[in-house]
Symmetry: C2
Subunit: 191 residues, 2 copies
DNA sequence: CGCGGGTTTGATGATGCTCAAGCCCGGTGG
DNA sequence: CCACCGGGCTTGAGCATCATCAAACCCGCG
């Protein structure tokens, strides 16, 4: 059940089968339906999730009730609100299933125990965080240096598989413009 | 010399004086003049820096030779290009001293040795990365949900001390608009 | 004193938003 | 099995925000 997670860990640190078996005690597999919420803005984020199957996103709602998607996660990605999870403060974001979703959930109150049991995971999570940080940096870089239209084409070529899986209004809210504008970009290309 | 760094570490993990002394072997204190570069775009980032005194920034240049400041670091903050540092790939960013700068530099080729010598630092760096990630998340959130003018006032109230230390063209390039526009925002307030 | 980097000011214009209407299509209930 | 409903996508007109360009200004420094 947690094989994909152990495989993922092995991409970054040595991790034997015994450790892998111990790992299982700390995780619960959960499933969510399309559009279900794993977390709502204002709640404390009590778990971090490793996506086994499906797709989810974090987003928040600003003025005018406009949604802003913060990031997406598919199979093999971690998803959480790091700040809320670590510091047990109210979250700034919603976490929502985009598709039918299966995740391995690590509860906050089990996390420290896990790191004591398997201290080599400190390094794993450090590396995961570094990569998430690098991704966030690239996101800011693209937001600054590319126009809306360029961001769309950049995304479309780097993640073609996402174009199928994500509704356009979510993609627009991720790229930082309105669904109407996305629609107009697409119209240009086709004609 | 490295006292501020040890103090910083103690804010997150237990860290005795012996460890603190050992730490010193792995760091070099370096100084840079205003506008000097710690790293240039395209080079591999061979160190991560803990700021002891002064201020520095990361930035990149996009089309039209316009600069985009990615983030600032002052006393007590870490600065590096995480992606380049970890994976030894060419950096996407410049790192530059904004003011006269003194840093404690940890070289990439000493880093793994440091973590073996003082493995409790794995946790420290994990936490540091988590906080950097949370900051990056908030940055994206503000970019999305606030207008240019709102971002300026938000920044000015949260970091008033920065307004003194940073030239306005750098602040504009951090907030995501032009120096001319920043000037116009300020003109509004004063009149 | 003059130079030059940084800031200000104004005119013009592009990018992308708002609002409103219509369309497409899958799902649900009669 | 069809009608209807509603969510999501499209299209267009008008408009706000902010960029671009150009000129003038300010002021610290050589």
């Amino acid at each position: 059940m947690l094989q994909p997670l152990c495989d993922h860990i092995r991409r970054f640190i040595p991790f034997d089968d015994v450790s892998c078996a111990r790992l299982a005690q700390f995780f619960e597999v959960e499933t969510y339906k399309r559009k279900a919420f794993l977390l709502r803005e204002g709640e404390v984020c009590t778990a971090q999730y490793f996506v086994l199957e499906g797709c989810c996103r974090t987003f928040f709602t600003a003025a005018n009730d406009t949604e802003h998607t913060h990031l997406f996660a598919i199979e093999g990605w971690w998803m959480t609100d790091a700040q809320s999870f670590e510091q047990r403060t109210p979250s700034q974001f919603h976490i929502q299933a985009v598709e039918q979703l299966r995740v391995a959930a690590l509860r906050r109150d089990l996390r420290d125990g896990l790191l004591e049991t398997l201290p080599q995971l400190e390094r794993y999570f450090r590396i995961i965080n570094e990569r998430a940080l690098a991704a966030a940096n690239m996101r800011v870089k693209y937001l600054f240096s590319l126009s809306g239209e360029e961001r769309y084409h950049n995304f479309a070529t780097r993640f073609p598989e996402f174009l199928q899986r994500i509704p356009q209004y979510m993609l627009a809210s991720y790229l930082g413009f309105t669904p109407e504008f996305l629609s107009k970009i697409r119209a240009k290309r086709i004609s």
